[in-house]
């Protein structure tokens, strides 16, 4: 007796995936001028950051890392440790690749903050909007990152622009969430006090809510930075050059040492970005004042 029908779902619709794909491609083609404009902008933005990074002498970058590490953690030891870590990347011969990676990550983070911070502020104002957007944020965060690569390539082609777009979509979520959360968590009496002295909405936002929420917002910025770093290897699949690409090549050719070295460089970069920004944020917090 055949009981296979028990173990397979009995009903399915025929999805015309071809049609959907065609429609998306058609859309991309129809508005190619618009998407090309964005692509150009992003590509030149990444290029500009890379130009700056590659024109900074290596020892100045090392000195900067030492300074930030020392300032942020109040220990000479931290400064020395972080500069040595940075030097290791250079010693492995990955300096220029690191600059390429860094420029895509930084461009992605800057764009993510440009959109994420205002969206977070808007969400904090409206319980309604928050309830609508939250599932979308959940989706953006849990969707396998590779899925973002396909539309990014269709609309923006291979290259650093697509990489930035995919990075932005994936990494924007924490800064939105934590900005909104931070502003909501500001003490109600503090907000009432500001209102009772006749603050306008903007004064309330910039003089009270944002400064009070700053530690939380900064945690969001840090998270966004880390998530952007985690996109480095994935983005190399759509033509982002840099350390990620090294890892990808190593995987394809099964070159253990090459993969390991490039992978280590990614890890070191991530650690540096995390620690240095963390130190800087907590430093900011302590300074306080006007």
């Amino acid at each position: 007796m055949n009981v296979d029908w028990l173990f397979d779902f009995p009903y399915r619709i025929k999805l015309n995936t071809d049609a959907i794909d065609k429609a998306v491609r058609g859309f991309a083609a129809a508005y190619s001028a618009f998407f090309d404009g964005i692509k150009m902008t992003l590509t030149s933005f990444v290029g500009a950051i890379n130009w700056v990074l590659s024109h900074v002498p290596w020892f100045i970058l090392v000195a900067l890392v030492f300074f930030l590490g020392y300032k942020g953690h109040k220990k000479v030891r931290s400064g020395i440790l972080y500069s040595i870590l940075l030097c290791i990347i250079g010693i492995f011969g990955l300096w220029s690749l690191m600059n390429l990676t860094l420029s895509i990550v930084l461009a992605g983070v800057i764009v993510a903050l440009l959109f994420g911070l205002p969206i977070g502020v808007l969400l904090s104002n409206s319980e309604h909007a928050n309830r609508l957007i939250r599932p979308l944020l959940d989706m953006m965060q849990t969707m396998p990152v590779f899925v973002y690569l396909i539309p990014a390539v269709i609309f923006f082609g291979m290259g650093s622009a697509s990489a930035v777009i995919a990075t932005v979509i994936y990494a924007m979520v924490p800064v939105i969430r934590l900005t909104s959360l931070g502003i909501r968590q500001v003490n109600t009496e503090v907000v009432e006090a500001a209102r009772s002295f006749g603050s306008t909405k903007l004064q309330l936002l910039f003089k009270v809510q944002v400064p009070q929420a700053l530690p939380t917002i900064m945690a969001g910025v840090n998270q966004t930075l880390m998530m952007a770093m985690s996109m480095v290897v994935t983005c190399s699949m759509i033509g982002a050059r840099g350390l990620g690409n090294e890892v990808l090549i190593a995987v394809n050719r099964i070159e253990i040492s090459r993969g390991f070295i490039a992978g280590s460089a990614v890890v070191i970069l991530a650690i540096l970005l995390d620690r240095l920004t963390q130190g800087w944020f907590s430093e900011k917090k302590k300074e306080g004042g006007e």
Binding site: E192, A193, F197, G288
Partner: protein
């Protein structure tokens, strides 16, 4: 200028969807609970009509949930009443545009909050100057005025301190300075001293009184403490379940309470004022036992510079008192210590009120002894401590 600065007329504030139905029920005399059950609407305030005199301290008192915090937030429209009007110097607050409301908040009223509502990303000066800053005053002028306000609340020298480094009392001084810096006509104070410990609270009450008498500001003060209300208020209003029960001077209210609720409220204050022996009793400096020798007794008295000593047995039961004179005489005549103990001494219980023991304490040549049911000695009450408790 009229003597009334703020007037509310039939102000109600309801939370919920079926507010119309709720109003209808309330008009027919339904209670807060009935309305909530029937319509799901919360009655924060119902039909409040108040007249607040200019230049006086007007205290609104009520337990939590009585609507007093909602009421005070209606005066600067942090809350908007569902119905009724509030007149501020004849201007209807309900009719102000957004722009006018902002101006009103910047010039006419300032509020002090229960948990201070200070911004810990600014220092004391930055907090105090905040109200002037948002009204667009130039930095130099607003800092000048903020410094004056800080001096007014005796915080001079703390301008650059961060909020987190201040004690509760000092934080509320900052809150008060911030409100005063705007030079408002009316000061709204929402349980400003409730979060402070009793001693600091007394200080702050005194400070507020002296500032108010000096500047002649109108103060609307919210509290749940009847002592505080009577100490500060020129007029006191009692609220319960969102309704106004009675408005009167403290004297008027204690002599003619409107109902039992008000009477109970006032009684609760009197009770807390009653001092008992427990509050003023002290521990005796030294004790001796009946079988201690005369020499030991004399030595104890000499080393403590006292003229009498209490005699207790091993269970701390009070036997009596031994005076220096008797002890010296007994030593000379070689009399046993147990024979010269004075056993007929004034005793009192620990829960007796100071009023009760007053005559006893004044007449007795020795400090009163405080004993429990089994005659165990708990402490003594001196004349000095009885008299000083009266102050």
């Amino acid at each position: 200028m009229s003597d009334i600065i703020v007037e509310t007329r039939h102000v109600s504030k309801l939370y919920g969807i079926r507010r119309e139905d709720a109003m209808r029920m309330l008009r027919k005399g339904a209670t807060k609970e009935e309305v909530l059950k029937e319509t799901g609407v919360t009655t924060a305030l119902y039909d409040i009509s108040l007249q607040i005199p200019r230049g006086k301290i007007f205290v609104i008192i009520g337990l939590s949930g009585s609507g007093k915090s909602t009421m005070i937030r209606c005066f600067n429209r942090l809350h908007r009443p569902t119905s009724g009007t509030i007149l501020f110097d004849g201007v209807d607050l309900m009719k102000l545009s957004k722009q006018e409301l902002r101006e009103f908040r910047r010039r006419k009223v300032a509020m002090v909050f229960q948990s201070f509502g200070l911004m810990n990303h600014r220092n004391v000066l930055g907090n105090v100057a905040y109200g002037l800053e948002v009204s667009g005053m130039a930095r130099g002028e607003r800092e000048q005025r903020a410094r004056e306000a800080i001096e007014l609340v005796s915080l001079k020298g703390w301008e650059e301190a961060m909020i987190d480094s201040l004690s509760g009392g000092m934080r509320q001084r900052v809150g008060l300075a911030r409100a005063l810096a705007n030079d408002p006509e009316v000061l709204l104070m929402d349980e400003p001293f409730s979060a402070l410990d009793p001693l600091v609270r007394k200080d702050m009450q005194f400070e507020l009184l002296s500032i108010q008498r000096r500047l002649g500001k109108t103060v609307i003060f919210i509290t749940h403490d009847i002592d505080e209300a009577f100490r500060l208020g020129d007029m006191v209003a009692i609220m319960r379940d969102g309704r106004l029960i009675q408005v009167d001077t403290p004297e008027g209210m204690s002599t003619k309470p409107a109902n039992d609720y008000v009477r109970r409220f006032i009684d609760s204050a009197d009770k807390s004022k009653v001092l008992t022996v427990r509050n003023i009793m002290i521990t005796p400096v030294s004790l001796i036992k009946p079988d201690d020798g005369i020499d030991h007794a004399l030595r104890v008295m000499r080393s403590n510079a006292i003229s009498s000593v209490y005699v207790v047995d091993n269970q701390m039961k009070l036997t009596g008192i031994l005076t220096l004179l008797d002890a010296v005489r007994a030593k000379r005549d070689n009399i046993e210590l147990s024979k010269i103990i004075l056993k007929d001494i004034a005793k009192t219980s620990i829960d007796a009120s100071v009023e009760e023991i007053m005559p006893l304490a004044v007449e007795s040549p020795y400090p009163l002894t405080v004993v429990d049911e089994e005659q165990r000695l708990l402490g003594i009450v001196t004349k000095a401590s009885v008299l000083s408790s009266l102050l």
